[in-house]
């Protein structure tokens, strides 16, 4: 196949174009990875698809918007001196904290009563919670988009023709850091150990003295906190928020969670980035209207070959007593 026409005409080195897209893909994949982690955790630990997760990402983004506006007001009133970078850091931390409660409420109200119900009921509940969050936002803030405050100035570095911004670097680094922190949490703490065990067998874990409800709440809290981080990072990169922004992200992160394999933090992270790469590189070669069609056909093909994802077990060990 010959090189796409625009590459010829622009007169830019293909290598530079490739690297530029790689940088963009890393940023795009960061959002997917962070959201996919929450999907994946809930899915593997509670055997539940939390279809409201994309909307929790949206809520997290809005909470981030609110928190940052509050902090900006606080800083400009002169009560405390807050440099912008500190506002951003505090916004991320605060919003993660607050959004984790949104997740816990969703679990408590929406899913816990259905724990022994057929899984389809829980899936439908998830969709409904999603709609409630979207329309609730609409009712609360009205049908308008809000723009996320620009907290850090964009600095662009030109690395031999490839443009990298400080925001992109930050987004990718923060995402990787959070994924790594979760990985460590799951590997090294007693809660993480309990989570891994629950992914294999839900029923036995309480008999080891582990309270099931605490674990369920914790799972939702962690997943939602990561989604909130994704929401704020998204706001930093694309500062226009709307109540339906979570839907498409939710679906794609769901795909990434499945692609990563049940119960694998690493898998979900990698799959999130892979999705980002696939979308960006497909758009580089083909018309962008065909982007998702082609990108997700490729993903479908991968899943056809590896139905359990990259790191998933060959079969589920969920046993009932």
């Amino acid at each position: 196949m010959s090189r796409p026409a625009f590459v010829e005409s622009a007169g830019i080195e293909p290598m530079v174009i490739f690297l530029q897209n790689l940088v963009n893909a890393l940023q795009w994949g960061s959002f997917y990875a962070l959201i996919a982690l929450g999907y994946s955790m809930v899915y593997s630990i509670l055997m539940l698809f939390n279809f409201a997760h994309g909307d929790i990402f949206m809520v997290g983004s809005y909470i981030g918007f609110g928190v940052s506006m509050g902090l900006i007001a606080l800083a400009s009133s002169g009560v405390v001196a807050l440099p912008n970078w500190l506002i951003l850091v505090l916004t991320i931390l605060f919003s993660m904290f607050l959004t984790s409660f949104v997740g816990m409420i969703v679990e408590r109200v929406g899913y816990r009563p259905l724990r022994d119900a057929p899984r389809a009921s829980a899936a439908i509940t998830g969709l409904m919670i999603g709609i409630i969050l979207e329309t609730g936002n609409l009712a609360l803030l009205g049908a308008r988009r809000v723009s996320f405050p620009s907290l850090i100035e964009t600095t662009t570095y030109n690395v031999s023709g490839v443009f990298v911004t400080n925001k992109k670097i930050m987004i990718v680094l923060v995402s990787l850091l959070l994924a790594l922190a979760l990985h460590q949490f799951v590997r090294r703490t007693k809660w993480g150990m309990a989570m891994r065990a629950m992914a294999f067998d839900f029923a036995v874990v309480p008999l080891m003295g582990v309270p099931l409800n605490t674990m369920a709440a914790l799972t939702f809290a962690l997943g939602s906190a990561l989604a909130a981080a994704a929401g704020i990072l998204f706001g930093v990169a694309y500062p226009v928020l709307d109540p339906y922004m979570g839907i498409v992200f939710g679906w794609k992160a769901f795909v990434a969670a499945i692609l990563g394999g049940r119960g694998s933090v690493m898998g979900a992270t990698l799959a999130g980035f892979l999705l980002g790469f696939t979308e960006i590189f497909v758009a580089m070669i083909f018309p962008s209207t065909l982007r998702d069609l082609i990108a997700y056909s490729i993903i479908l093909l991968i899943l056809a070959i590896r139905p359990h994802g990259f790191f998933g077990e060959p079969y589920s060990a969920r046993l009932r007593l």
């Binding site: 007693k190 065990a197 294999f200 029923a203 309480p206 080891m208 003295g209 309270p211 077990e313 046993l319």
Partner: protein, 258 residues
């Protein structure tokens, strides 16, 4: 006689229209080994599920050391000192042997989220203690050399021991063993019986044992209950049970060809 350590009073439980357990009574003093036998489907495992809180009994009461435990969630009952193993080996197949044992210490671990993340001295000390306890248990089970192996790859007999180690790691005062010798060869059988005896002697545990192999029950248990269609049809010493006509009927059917 002082009040028994585990006491079940008039417990019944239904699944839909089926009465799985009927008017069941049990008393185990601390440090006693009790056998529970009966044909398949007699309700033995259901009794275990009721005692451990997986099901809440429809009728009746369960007391542990004088304290009412029926209706408590499973993790509470577990942390009060009731531990069990499963007929079909419910292990976390992709986790290592030592992780199984460490996780079973969960309710004893006190460190918080923050301490775990930054690795405070308290957290590290606790982790080290748990590690040490876990290794000691693995030693007792004779599987110390397998500590870092993933359970999936172990032979069946070793998996049984992992399950036993995990059950003991919760530091129980009573252990419920659901067919611990199922699928074992004669050599493994002797070893597992030795392990049960040691757990009983060295840790002073009360044990309730579901078992199909008469040899094992007869050798280990002081008293035996026989369950059929959810009801106790006989209770007594191994000799009494062996010669009880109702037990023989329950196992072999009334019209024997012999």
């Amino acid at each position: 006689m002082t009040s028994p350590f585990l006491q079940v009073r008039n417990m019944s439980h239904d699944f839909g229209g089926l009465r799985a357990v009927r008017d069941y009574n049990l008393e185990i003093g601390s440090g006693q080994i009790r056998g529970l036998i009966g044909p398949n489907g007699a309700g033995k495992t259901t009794v275990f599920n009721l005692i451990t809180g997986i099901y809440k009994p429809g009728h009746g009461e369960i007391f542990l050391d004088g304290r009412k435990i029926d209706g408590l969630p499973p993790h509470r009952i577990a942390s009060l000192g009731v531990s069990r193993t499963f007929q079909n080996l419910l292990l976390w197949r992709h986790m290592t042997v030592i992780e199984h044992v460490k996780l079973a210490h969960y309710s004893k671990i006190r460190y918080g989220l923050f301490a775990a993340f930054i690795g405070t001295p308290g957290h590290n000390r606790e982790e080290a203690e748990i590690e040490e306890k876990a290794v000691r248990l693995l030693d007792m089970m004779g599987i110390r050399h397998l500590a870092d192996q993933v359970v999936l790859n172990l032979p069946y007999g070793a998996q049984r021991r992992v399950e036993m180690a995990r059950a003991l790691a919760t530091e129980p005062r009573i252990l419920l063993l659901d067919e611990p010798t199922a699928g074992m060869n004669p050599e493994e059988l002797v070893q597992i019986m030795e392990i049960i005896r040691r757990a009983h002697k060295e840790l002073g545990l009360a044990i309730l044992l579901i078992e199909h192999r008469m040899k094992v029950v007869m050798e280990l248990c002081e008293r035996i209950q026989t369950l059929d269609f959810g009801a106790v049809i006989a209770e007594g010493t191994p000799e009494e049970i062996q010669n009880n006509p109702r037990v023989i009927d329950a196992y072999l059917g009334k019209e024997r060809a012999i």
